[in-house]
């Protein structure tokens, strides 16, 4: 059996830097013969490479499934490439900025000849750091390109400030928890980041580790103050009659230090909090304090530290919502040495997001089958990608699967051995109901 040829799909909005990346890949000295299938002839073929024009012809399958759309032109072009004596080492498919990567991916599930000779290696999506937010707000195609990606390259990061890139990355992460996210300047991604990704490789589905965002922080804001003795934290009436907060020493007055400290104090918020009435002293420490903010129009709390130094205050809401301020012992307004707003994802209510399910115990094979096929029949068009490692009752080996819309394939994976049997699934889709998905999967647990 001849070796299959890997195919990399390159998507991204107009101006995101696809062509720059393509040029880089073609001109880099990697010794591979690459055929590029793109939607317009570009002047980029070098020596041993071939550039083929494609018209992105999509057809609907006749199987009654509205999401089963296939790129017939791709089947034809790949078929013709296989007729050559000098086969290519790799194929790159560049899509137009407005293309939905779905039909490209589905082509590799649907057509036997294509499957036999080619492996879909991965979907690489270029994201323009400057304009992506705009595109994501008003384009379904942009959403789909993010959702389908195995690798998201945030390009042109030198044109925006670091905070904007952080915000964008968080947004992308919330949409697609499975993709690897890289930051690049002039599409200068190292080859190994974009080639041999194995995004559709069932064997590699085994190391499925969705990069979910840290769970939502129980606080929205953190600020660093230089404290020596006592200071006053003064608030007015805000959206909530009470607000929890914690005070903690911190090593540096930077957003990075704040994020690190946030990880440390994170879990304290699940323990019972101590109620603080206005006028009370608020010391640093393990205990989370709930500040009572009702019945007056001004609430003062005394931040009191034994040792002078930098302290971080984390609050459940933004201080400006309570018109809050800090004052030293002499009554002078204090400046913050640093501050950071946590978990601002809720600013973007993207309909596309990732849902990960994890469930201990073995699943009943036929119940699972029924649930999955019902799910894909009803929500197939809204599910862009899915991957899973399943523990099936009576099977000694893991079952790994992956899919695109309604199409999926699966195979037995590693033996479970002594490992605890548990199933993990990740869906990337539109309007996914996490609670309902979890309930559906749970109902498949073997009795």
């Amino acid at each position: 059996m001849a070796q299959t040829i890997p195919v990399t799909v390159l998507t991204g909005f107009l101006g995101s830097g696809k062509t720059t990346l393509l040029n880089r890949i073609l001109t880099e000295n990697h010794g591979q013969r690459i055929a590029v299938i793109e939607n317009e002839f570009g002047e980029i073929g070098v020596d041993q490479d071939l550039v083929i024009n494609a018209d992105e012809e999509v057809f609907e399958m006749n199987n009654g499934c509205i999401c089963c759309t296939v790129r017939g032109d791709l089947i034809r072009i790949l078929g013709n490439l296989m007729k050559r004596r000098d086969k290519f080492d790799r194929i790159l498919v560049e899509t137009t900025g407005l293309a939905d990567p779905g039909p490209v991916a589905q082509t590799f599930f649907v057509d036997d000849d294509t499957r036999e000779s080619f492996d879909l290696d991965g979907v690489i999506t270029m994201v323009d750091a400057k304009h992506a937010e705009l595109h994501l707000d008003d384009s379904d195609e942009a959403m789909a390109q993010i959702a389908f990606a195995d690798v998201l390259l945030i390009n042109k990061i030198d044109l925006v400030d670091a905070e904007a890139v952080d915000t964008l990355e968080r947004r992308l992460r919330s949409m697609n928890a499975m993709a690897r996210i890289e930051r690049v300047r002039m599409a200068d991604a190292p080859m190994e980041q974009v080639l041999d990704v194995g995004g559709f490789d069932l064997r590699r589905a085994l190391d499925l580790k969705p990069g979910f965002l840290e769970p939502e922080y129980p606080f929205e804001w953190g600020g660093v103050l230089q404290l020596d003795g006592k200071a006053t934290f003064r608030l007015r009436n805000g959206p909530d009659p009470a607000m929890s907060a914690v005070l903690e020493p911190i090593c540096a007055a930077t957003p990075e230090a704040l994020k690190e400290t946030a990880e440390r104090v994170f879990t304290r918020f699940s323990a019972p909090a101590e109620m603080l009435q206005p006028g009370a002293t608020f010391p640093p420490g393990e205990t989370v304090r709930t500040l009572a903010l009702t019945g007056a129009d001004r609430y003062d709390f005394t931040l009191a530290v034994d040792r002078p130094g930098l302290y971080a205050l984390f609050t459940e809401h933004l201080p400006e919502e309570f018109d809050a301020g800090f004052f030293d012992a002499a009554g002078a307004k204090m400046d913050l040495a640093a501050e950071h707003v946590f978990n601002p994802e809720h600013e973007h209510d993207d309909t596309v997001r990732s849902v990960a399910l994890e469930l201990d115990g073995a699943l009943d094979g036929s119940a699972l089958n029924a649930w999955l096929s019902r799910l894909l029949q009803t929500q197939g068009p809204d599910i862009f990608r899915m991957k899973g490692i399943l523990a099936i009752e009576g099977e000694d080996r893991q079952f790994v699967f992956q899919g695109v819309h309604m199409l999926f394939d699966g195979q037995p994976g590693d033996p479970w051995g002594d490992r605890r049997r548990s199933s993990r699934l990740v869906f990337i889709g539109r309007d996914l109901d996490e609670v309902e998905l979890e309930r559906g999967l749970r109902a498949c647990l073997a009795a």
């Binding site: 018209d55 609907e60 296939v70 017939g72 032109d73 013709n80 050559r84 004596r85 649907v110």
Partner: protein
Amino acid sequence: MNGFRLDHWVVDAPLTGVCVERGGRYAAFAGGDGCVRIADLREREPSLSAWSLTRGAVLALAPDCRERGFLCGADDGAVYRVHATDGPGELVRLARYWPDRLASHPCGLSAVSDGVRVRLLDAGGREVAELGGHPSTVAGLAFDSSGRRLAVSHYNGASLWSLNGQHSAPQRLHHRGSHLDLSWSRDERFVVTATQEKTLHAWDLVSGQDASLGPCINKVKSIGWSADGTWLLASGADTVSGWPFSDGRLPSPAPRMLGRYSEHLVARVCANPRLALAAAGYNDGGLELVSLAPRPRRRSLAARPGSPVADLAWSPEGNCLLGGDSDGRLFAYRFDTDSLARLARAD
């Protein structure tokens, strides 16, 4: 039946197409190395004379409308007419697309796919018409027996162009999905396409009805009609699939399995143009003759393990069978007509 002579050659290129010119004397083998190789079937031990057309692959091969000639579509965009002894000459060069579908008719017309369009050429290679407006890239081309119509397959069906010199709007045959290879019945009543979805689709031009046939196990890569026109034959299953068109109606979808089952799928099927038999090439390189008599018989010609049979062709007289596989093993069987006829009758 030992009544045949076998010649075979090995070349360093996958076979991309094989055919015999209209005079029946010369066979051409198109290769993935850009060469077309020609054998004179009248020679006792024919050798191959190779003509190099392109650095890439020859994507399509068809007999020219004139004797001793072949049409070759190369992946540099050029269509060549290759004379069996005088060699190639460029007929037309496409700017943007691969000329990967070709057809010709002895009346003097040739058709070349050019993206969503078809270029219609006369015997001298001059363009007589450009047939456009197909909803997708052309996937199949076939003239009817009389040369009065050209059928073109594409997404969501096929288009029938009348070649009366006007080339007005074509008759559209509609059926959703991607339609690939295409074939006319010998009586011009039925048009059949192989679809992306492992089925065939047949239109009855007289009754206006249409029907899906199949599905087969695999995508159908070759279709054709038995010599008497009563059987539609297709590859794609573990035996030759056939549908009877004998009573002038569309058949029921399930195919008749002609002959024994094999553990390998039929990659190519090619009906003999004179006798009630067909050649079947398998995915493992196996080759068999299947009689289409009421009690079918099969005769194995090659049982060696190898790569999939890439193409098959009969000479117009039906006494030579040409073919090859994707590893460049080419063959020519020249049969004794009587023994072939006995197999067809299943004596």
